[in-house]
Symmetry: C2
Subunit: 555 residues, 2 copies
């Protein structure tokens, strides 16, 4: 049956159809061009926004104070209150924004409110240091005075980690934005923490390299913030995590000490690898002021394929074959279930890339150094998958436009999910064998609670339970589109989802970190012994607790 399936070229549904299973003639052109796939910052970054946010509507409304949304969080009385003398002192160090010196609430709100408009702090002072020494002076003073601080990068975080909760002083990293050096021989970039990811990447592309990380928010996020939150993004499958690619950090400790571990070396076995503690520490043990990072060659060719698959078992087989046959050039393996694709089709009104209606769709991207070789490998994989029946239908992009269109069916998902009223979102890691089971189990659970809309339950408030994500990284986005937000749904979902993940030793936050949003749930992904060691570390580095309080691992 599968051998009779159709293989089409994206955007040319009527041409090039084969009914005989002969797919070799459908290879992408040998002269495949270099694709630069431009992604919409808002859609991709929004994909992991926590739970019930709907930025577009809420943007018009007043943003609630985080302190009101989380009444259980109280201001820590150990911290001093800001005085006029403090403000004067900071003015002697660097430019500031302050209600004391006449800045408006709107000006401060740009730093108090996160980009999703979900979190809102009450800082009355924003500091704009120009260099590492300024930050050293600031932290030394704050530590002595017991003034709490929040380091802020591009303010593109998804868990409220980059804005204050109460009156913490915001330390904006915007002015630390120099690219210090790039060596095209070694591929090592050294740059200030406040350099915007896209700026760093553009600089590298001029020298035939790329940053080893790609994110929807690349136009705004800072590379220092990326490292501080251990951002995962779109290239992790190919280039690995920042724990492997970051070679060094320069950081200021809470007491003002400048820790200079800005190594230019791939190998350096001389003591504990301190920089690793800062990667993913979310500003709780110090402020990263610069990084050195190993940057890969810019790929000469990128190809995109899109497949229809009949079962999750076959998705797994497809993944294994893709790893085997594409191996070193596989740069993305994205899963989308039928629910997500129906929604994208319905909301956008676009023609689907494949006619086959299957429970799963897979997008595969390759990035390599030889366009001919890459196309050949991908075509061979496609033949194999069709002949074995692992996939039912498939298409290969033949141009950058087609590649972008195919990516649209993956990247358009976050935007369409809220169209029915709202959406509950989870960004989790699950071992691959049970990767999709969470979606099925959550659906069954919500149905058993009478919440899932169906023919027999037309008034159900839950429209659907869908899943998609970076399967190549075991990173699932579980989404529950609803017609309205409802306490019953929240009660049905939590702690159900977290307990489910805990049983599989998954992660309740795959790539977005803990911040305020996930802090209280960390026990579902970490044992008490681990949390105990983490608290000891926090206390060691930040005995006064001034660094980004009320978040992450709480005392």
């Amino acid at each position: 049956m599968n051998t009779l399936s159709t293989i089409r070229t994206a955007g040319r549904a009527t041409s090039r159809r084969t009914l005989s299973g002969r797919v070799s003639s459908l290879r992408a052109p040998r002269t495949a061009t270099i694709y630069q796939i431009f992604r919409s910052a808002s859609t991709v970054a929004a994909e992991g926004q926590p739970n019930i946010t709907k930025p577009k509507e809420s943007a018009k409304k007043e943003v609630r104070f985080t302190a009101d949304s989380y009444p259980e969080i109280k201001r820590d009385s150990r911290f001093a209150e800001l005085t006029a003398d403090d403000v004067k002192h900071f003015q002697s160090i660097c430019p500031i924004l302050s209600s004391e010196t006449g800045n408006s609430e709107d000006e401060l709100n740009a730093f108090n409110i996160d980009w999703m408009r979900k979190y809102r702090g009450q800082a009355r002072l924003v500091l704009k240091p120009k260099n590492t020494e300024d930050i050293s002076k600031i932290l030394k003073y704050c530590n002595e005075r017991k003034l709490a601080v929040v380091p802020q990068g591009g303010n593109t975080g998804l868990v409220g980690g980059g804005v204050p909760v109460f009156d913490e002083i915001v330390i904006s990293m915007n002015a630390l934005n120099n690219i210090r050096s790039f060596d095209p021989v070694s591929g090592i970039l050294v740059a200030d923490a406040g350099v915007i990811l896209e700026t760093a990447d553009s600089h590298l592309r001029k020298h035939g390299h790329i940053f080893p990380l790609d994110l929807g928010a690349k136009g705004s996020c800072h590379i220092g913030g990326n490292v501080a939150t251990n951002a995962g993004g779109l290239r992790l499958l190919r280039y690995g995590s920042l724990h492997g690619t970051v070679l060094g950090v320069e950081a200021v400790l809470p007491d003002g000490t400048i820790l200079d571990d800005l190594s230019l070396l791939r190998k350096n076995n001389t003591g504990y690898d301190l920089k690793q503690l800062f990667i993913g520490s979310e500003g709780t043990i110090g402020i990263i002021t610069a990084i050195s990072v190993l940057c890969p060659q810019m790929p000469k060719a990128q190809n995109v394929a899109f497949f229809a698959v009949e079962s999750f078992d076959k998705v797994q087989k497809t993944f294994v074959k893709a790893k085997q046959q594409l191996s070193e050039i596989l740069s993305a393996f994205e899963l989308m279930d039928a629910g997500t694709q129906s929604l994208v089709a319905k909301v956008t009104g676009k023609k689907r890339p494949l006619e086959s209606q299957t429970p799963f769709y897979v997008l595969i991207e390759t990035s390599g150094s030889n366009p001919e070789h890459d196309s050949e490998k991908l075509s061979t994989l496609l033949e194999d998958l069709m002949e074995s029946g692992d996939v039912t239908d498939g298409t290969l992009a033949e141009s950058e436009t087609q590649a972008r269109e195919l990516w649209g069916w993956r990247e358009g998902i976050p935007e369409v999910l809220g169209h029915g009223g709202g959406v509950y979102k989870y960004d989790v890691s699950i071992p691959l064998a049970e990767f999709y089971t969470l979606v099925e189990d959550t659906r069954a659970h919500l149905a058993s609670q009478g919440l899932l809309k169906s023919e027999s339950n037309p008034d159900g408030v839950v429209i659907d339970v869908v899943g998609y994500g970076h399967m190549g990284d075991s990173n699932l986005h579980l989404n529950i589109p609803v017609s309205q937000y409802d306490k019953r749904i929240e009660k049905a979902l939590e702690p159900f989802v977290y307990i489910w993940i805990q049983k599989r030793r998954g992660s309740i936050s795959a790539e977005h970190g803990l911040g305020v949003a996930k802090s209280e749930f960390v026990g579902y992904s970490r044992a008490e012994t681990e949390l105990g060691v983490m608290r000891m570390l926090k206390k060691l580095f930040d005995p006064n607790g001034i660094m980004n309080p009320y978040k992450y691992i709480k005392a």
Copy 2:
């Protein structure tokens, strides 16, 4: 001139010669086979042995006690002396070896003396725990009693880190040797720390995968020891460091707490990445009892090329081109200077792979998923390098035997270096721009001290100053073959070499760690602020200092 150079196929010097610069006909066969390049454990592991060791001769002699070689190290009086009651207690936990229970000195020496026979401790007790719980009980007891311990893996270390200095109890990891699981879909292996690297790799190869690390000592070293020492090895250029590939560790803290961070996830942003502290900690903050690691696909093809290059500037150009054109399949870029190749030729009497006598030779290896594609990429690179004159001469292996022969000119170096009498050795990282300058500067320095043998100084005790190593990783092996060991040479070399490296922000120990050998020199690669933080961490995890004392970062 260069266009007239010869390109030969390894082992067939007289055939296939071209004098016209047409190299396209000399491509490796399209049906290149899978090479499994077997390396001699003794030669490769010996390559970084510190300073003046000559295992083959010294093996016959009595090994000096480390305490005698390092008289400045005194036994820490905080530690308790072992009693008969202690031994009895340990017997109730696991099998032991002890002078108290009738084991001979020879039996204990197997654990007291390192494989190079350079370091010798005085342990009277060796513990052989069978599982993590045994180790937890052991450490809890030792911590309470203040008995110092040394965790010991395969005892293949190069800096004396795995054997006692005084009477520390040896905890042998040999019996923790179960492969717990391997998932061919995700490529994740979970295994006990005491599994031998080659055993793990063989297990993975049965499932089409490989361990992301390869070492000369693979037949003896433990994967737990590899992680504890952050081993680099032969695959780092391609698969990255263990900081990126190790997904989780299970470790026992000095107080007996079992830290279970044995994650199966590529993404998990829920708190400080504790496992990273254990990677490269050399047994000083706890004992790694198991690891989970992401394992790459087994490459379907490996190719080896060997080039003659006229200057280090051209070596750098060749490296950049190799990275650009081989990109994702480049798995080794090894540099050998003329001095090393003359020595190998002289000692082995073998015919050189290339006739051209140039100051530098480069070995390039590719590992990929498609033999045809890989050969084509390598041949294209070869053409480019020849036409541009970046290389003078080159050859491509056409069989596994030829590939092994070419590797022999790189891997045979450590063994031949001591043939003139002895050799002083350094294993360092240096930023690429000045990678080879250390060799030239050291030569000039030794010449200026009247130590270098030359026509005008025939009595010089220094035969030569040579360099080779993993250039792809910025990892240089600086070697000084001498006719005899001489205090004047040592004085001329140290701290000269360390100061030189410090000025370039290099590493005095690229991959072999600190142990006893490099502990006192760590200040040349780490600032006092870094060392201060490291000491705080050590104290936090191991307040009684019982874990592997007298080594690494000293209090």
